[in-house]
């Protein structure tokens, strides 16, 4: 091998060896550290929420707590104002046209003119004289315009009749009178018929023509195509050229398929009525509106503008004006404009002023004269829905009616004792007020069928025993107005007249009740002076006022919290720990601590309890108050199984049990003062094996 390459190879080997020598990082050594771990204090605020505590002049603590049992909103729960909307539907086929008559006359003079020379001339020259008229045949008249356009321009009838009556005012009889009636524009034949004999000055001769399916124009031509006369039979008759042949047209029972006409102003709907609410008992004379609206919904498929006018004269708004809605609905258009009634007051005494639950309303729907011809068909219609909807009152006056309110429920109990999970406690004097606040302007009484407390964890249930309350009809004051104030009725419960102590000493987490309220048990004794407003409620509550003094035996506080001390948090090197608990305690309670460590499945791993040693209670002085703290020092060795339990635990359950410690000079029921505190400090004497891996 070339020596140069040998050298390079050796260099590479040396480098390889050197760089592969790595320093290990698992060096360790033992140490011992003394350090405080946690510190804290337990005060009265940790036992009961500060919002429930009240401090007296002597610094003693009183628990004040209000538990609401019932909060019944009468307007929401018992009173419902139904919707009052009404629907009207108007269509062309429901329209009926009035019978119409028109008369056309053809005078003798006009006939003479049409006859011409010599007969016509003779007739004219004979005017005012008598003359003999010879028989004539084949006579006719020129078309005569009949103008019915004031009624319609054209109309197609689905039904109807035209009666043609000819009255002969001429001095001679007529026969074979052929009458022809045609439309002016398209010349469509309406009628062509023969009157065979029309006597002079006799009864009119009538022909009836069925108009079904016929389209008739407003302008028509009437023409006598032919008429004959037998003459005067040689007799002289008085000739008056003003004598005439009278043709009367009468249209009746007409129903239209369609029509084109200049409609005059006319109401399609004209409705006014009292609307009465069925309240099922209450008789209201006035209603204030919290929310709700007038609904005026119009679908106009008529080819003309419709004007809608809706009035509720008894509904007065904040500005003093009544409900007056005027809207126009364009042809083939829809109107949907709710009118907000918030803030309005409605007089519910109706149009006559002596009714109840009733309001007056008026609606009209009209076509205004426009001078423009409008085409209307059978399909055209007008649909109107109007009324009051979604009415939520904020005030009702009158007579609330006579009814019962049954309420039974279970509520969350007095959470003052939420943190206590076990133990026996005996309280001193407890005062609980059962307070009934009646927000209704109506008389009534309340019967408490049952009232009780339960502890769902222990299963204990205690019913209130109080002969003054349970099962008794308790008259309640009615609310007053101007200014508004509920009527309050208070019933005191204490250890003398009830077993209220027993209810609280089970640390209830639920309260249950069964209550009946009778409204107006004596009827309308206040003559429609009842009222209810939006804030009117029936409220029943328990007001607790309790000096914080008690006897306790193993009164237990318990709390669970997560523990996530693991190897990753540098606890691998922790060896044995001598835990010392120092306590300075002014509570006249001794305490034993037990912390149970559990895994994620809830399995107990081990517990830390300082050997069962307790924290010493503060010693009561002659005035039954603790002035100097009692000190405690207790130890616990944490090693082996316990240490593993702490490191492997997912949660820990910490429990403190308290026992009151009185002195012979003082009652077993000790009073708690606001300055009482239990200061706790945990110090660890920790054997720790350091490792360079920690760095």
């Amino acid at each position: 091998m070339n020596k140069h390459y040998k050298g390079l190879l050796l260099i590479l080997c040396v480098i390889l060896v050197i760089t592969s020598c790595r320093r290990s990082l698992d060096t360790g050594w033992d140490t011992r550290y003394l350090t405080p771990i946690v510190t804290g204090e337990l005060t009265i605020y940790d036992l009961v929420p500060d919002s429930l505590t009240q401090f007296e002049e002597d610094e003693s603590v009183t628990l004040v707590y209000k538990s609401e049992l019932l909060d019944y909103d009468l307007t929401q729960e018992a009173i419902e104002i139904p919707d009052t909307s009404v629907e009207i539907y108007v269509s062309l086929d429901s329209l009926t046209l009035e019978d119409q008559e028109m008369e056309v006359s053809i005078s003798l003079g006009q006939i003479a003119i049409d006859l011409g020379f010599p007969i016509g001339t003779l007739i004219i020259l004979s005017n005012g004289d008598s003359a003999v008229l010879d028989p004539l045949t084949g006579l006719s008249t020129d078309p005569t315009l009949i103008d019915a356009t004031s009624f319609f321009e054209s109309a197609t009838f689905s039904a109807g009749f035209l009666k043609v009556s000819i009255a002969n005012g001429l001095p001679v009889d007529l026969d074979t009178v052929v009458l022809k009636l045609t439309n002016f524009t398209d010349g469509a034949l309406i009628l062509q018929d023969t009157f065979f004999y029309v006597p002079a000055a006799g009864v009119p001769v009538v022909i009836i023509k069925d108009l079904t399916g016929m389209t008739v124009e407003g302008n028509m031509y009437a023409e006598i195509l032919n008429f004959n006369t037998p003459g005067s039979n040689g007799d002289s008759v008085f000739i008056d050229t003003s004598d005439a042949l009278f043709i009367e047209f009468t249209a009746y029972d007409m129903e239209l398929l369609e029509a084109t006409a200049v409609f005059p102003e006319q109401n399609l709907i004209n409705s006014a009525n009292d609307v009465e609410y069925d309240m099922g008992g209450p008789e209201f004379t006035l209603m204030g509106i919290e929310s709700g609206h007038v609904v005026v919904y119009v679908v106009n498929s008529i080819n003309d503008t419709i004007e809608i006018v809706y009035d509720i004269p008894g509904a007065i708004g904040p500005d003093g004006s009544s409900v007056h809605i005027v809207s126009k609905v364009a042809p083939n258009d829809t109107l949907d404009e709710p009118f907000d009634l918030q803030g309005y007051t409605i007089d519910l005494r109706g149009s006559t002023g002596d009714r109840v639950n009733t309001f007056f309303q008026a609606l009209s729907a009209s076509i205004n004269y426009t001078g423009v011809a409008t085409h209307i068909t059978l399909a055209d219609s007008l649909r109107v829905i109007y009324g009051l909807e979604d009415i939520v009152p904020n005030e009702l006056r009158g007579y609330l009616g006579q009814y019962d309110v049954f309420v039974a429920d279970t509520t969350d109990g007095i959470n003052v004792f939420d943190q206590f999970t076990d133990g026996v406690v005996q309280f001193g004097q407890i005062n609980v007020d059962l307070e009934i606040a009646n927000g209704l302007g109506a008389s009534g009484n309340v019967i408490v069928n049952s009232l009780g407390a339960m502890n769902t964890e222990t299963g204990q249930v205690v019913f209130l025993e109080c002969s003054e309350v349970i099962g008794q009809a308790l008259d309640i004051s009615r609310a007053v107005d101007n200014p508004y104030a509920p009527g309050y009725t208070t019933i005191s419960l204490n250890s003398d007249n009830s077993n209220i102590n027993d209810l609280l000493e089970i640390f209830p987490d639920k309260l249950f009740y069964d209550v009946v309220m009778h409204v107006n048990p004596n009827g309308n004794e206040f003559n429609y002076q009842d009222f209810v407003i939006s804030t009117s409620k029936l409220n029943i509550s328990l007001n607790l006022n309790m000096p914080l003094e008690f006897f306790a035996s193993n009164l237990t506080l318990e709390n669970e919290f997560p523990v996530t001390l693991d190897a990753g948090s540098g606890t691998d090197g922790v060896g044995n720990i001598d835990l010392t608990l120092y306590a300075d305690n002014t509570f006249p309670l001794d305490a034993t601590i037990n912390i149970v460590f559990i895994d994620e499945f809830g399995t107990k791993l081990d517990s830390l309890n300082f050997g069962g040693d307790k924290i010493n209670p503060g010693i009561l002085s002659g005035d039954c108050r603790v002035h100097e703290p009692a000190t405690t020092e207790i130890h616990q060795i944490v090693d082996g199984v316990l240490k593993d339990a702490i490191l492997n635990a997912s949660n820990a359950i910490a429990t403190i049990k308290f026992n009151t410690a009185s002195i012979p000079e003082c009652s077993d029921i000790v009073k708690i003062y606001s300055d009482y505190v239990m200061k706790i400090q945990l110090v660890g004497d920790i054997n720790y094996t350091f490792s360079t891996a920690d760095f």
Partner: protein, 441 residues
């Protein structure tokens, strides 16, 4: 490790037994270029361009490694266990404790590299230098109380205030890529060498801890701790060191010179290495604190509302409790610059005596004074020397080294400047070893 050494040994045997091609060029050696009288600028195994042999063709490749660790209090067995995954016993701690002074030191220097020396074809007195080095330096200055707190704990310090002021710790781990020149000239009688290299520093990891002021009082029974502190910690961050990334960058220079006075046969060597700094700019972290802390335990306002932070080991919460501020701040770290000065006197044709000194700037290194004496056995192409020193990170120590030439192309040097720490581990507080392989072309 053993396997690798075995492989190396086998390979070494193969290499030395392999015979050169008889047609290979014979190298004509001159005293200056062939074989230095054995003296070196320093008793450490770092690259010494002033005394490195140059091959006949003017090319030499030098690979070296130098490990040195010492302390004024930690014995060798303590250091070995600390760095070598051992357990530090109470006896070791007590042994170190007896040697403690007010301020104590410990340091670890680990230098490795490969250098190329190439004389110019036109002028052999101009020598081109290029090299790659990996340098690891770790040094600490600490009070006796800090030692006690770390290695024993504070249990024995109840009612005592532990002093921590002026404790410091520094660590730099860098790669250096350098090039340079060295020139040889003479005045027809005396010979001089002068050179310089410079280059890029690639920072791998850095740590700098300075405690300007610190005390810890432990109350009796551990009821409270009072901590006063004013310190800064700068780290290069949590990025994993990698040769392919630059979490820090900087510059480094070496300057060196040698004068050989032929008359008195005295050589004066001066070498200053690693003048420079590294700038940590990729997510560096800074922790600082200047405050006092009275600690009676983690406060729990409601004992029955203990939260996660009270029941878990959360380092961030701990930092908040102590009042340490954390931030990201680019910082620069001066490299531990090494100054070596030595005077060497030839005695006869084969012996020499050297007196020198070394100092490492920016570390708690005390000036180190060394002496070295050696003899060269020309027929064996072997130089043996002995050295002794006092100062540095530790106290007195001594060592030996052997330089052996194999043929004309290979020179191996192995030795130690702190053999006593290997021989009497409980007594002496330093250990070191170095080696180099020079291949000459």
């Amino acid at each position: 490790m053993q396997r690798k050494l075995l492989c190396l040994s086998i390979l070494f045997l193969i290499i030395i037994k392999a015979r050169a091609n008889p047609d290979s060029t014979q190298i004509q050696l001159t005293p200056l270029t062939f074989f230095n009288n054995g003296s070196t600028t320093t008793i450490f195994g770092i690259f010494d361009p002033l005394n490195a042999p140059l091959g006949r063709n003017g090319i030499t490749v030098v690979a070296f490694s130098d490990l040195y660790t010492a302390s004024n209090c930690f014995s060798t067995d303590f250091i070995q266990n600390f760095f070598g995954s051992g357990f530090i016993t109470e006896e070791m701690k007590d042994n170190a404790s007896e040697k403690l002074t007010n301020l104590n030191t410990i340091g670890v220097d680990f230098y490795n590299g490969v250098w190329l020396m190439m004389a110019s074809k036109k002028n052999a007195d101009n020598i081109f230098l290029a090299g790659i080095e990996y340098n690891f330096e770790e040094s600490s200055q600490f009070t006796s109380d800090l030692f006690h707190l770390v290695f024993y704990g504070n249990y024995d310090y109840q009612n005592i205030t532990a002093q921590l002021t002026d404790s410091k710790f520094s660590l730099t781990s860098v790669m250096e890529y350098k090039v340079g020149m060295m020139k040889i000239f003479d005045d027809d009688y005396n010979t001089f060498k002068i050179g310089a290299t410079g280059g890029l520093v690639q920072g791998l990891s850095g740590l700098d801890i300075k405690t300007r002021y610190g005390t810890l009082f432990t109350a009796p029974d551990g009821r409270y701790l009072d901590l006063e502190y004013d310190f800064d910690i700068h780290t290069s961050g949590e990025n994993k060191p990698s040769l392919t990334s630059f979490i820090g960058a900087g510059f480094s220079f070496d300057i060196f010179g040698k004068a050989y006075f032929q008359g008195p046969e005295i050589s004066v060597n001066v070498m200053m290495n690693d003048i420079g700094a590294v700038f940590w700019n990729k997510d560096p972290l800074q922790y600082s604190g200047d405050s006092t802390l009275h600690f009676e335990g983690i406060e729990i306002n409601n004992l029955f509302a203990a939260t996660d932070s009270a029941a878990t080991g959360n380092t961030d919460s701990l930092l908040e409790i102590i009042g340490i501020q954390k931030g990201e701040k680019i910082f620069s770290q001066a490299l531990p610059s090494r100054l070596n000065v030595s005077v060497s006197k030839n005695i006869g044709n084969s012996m020499y005596f050297t007196l020198g000194t070394q100092y490492i700037f920016n570390t708690p290194y005390k000036p180190l004074i060394f002496v070295q004496g050696g003899k060269t056995f020309n027929d064996l192409k072997l130089t043996v020397s002995a050295n002794a020193h006092v100062g540095g990170y530790g106290a007195f120590n001594a060592g030996l080294d052997i330089t052996k030439r194999f043929g004309n192309a290979i020179q191996i040097k192995v030795g130690s400047n702190s053999l006593l720490g290997l021989v009497a581990q409980e007594v002496f507080t330093g250990v070191g070893a170095y080696g180099s392989l020079s291949v000459m072309f």
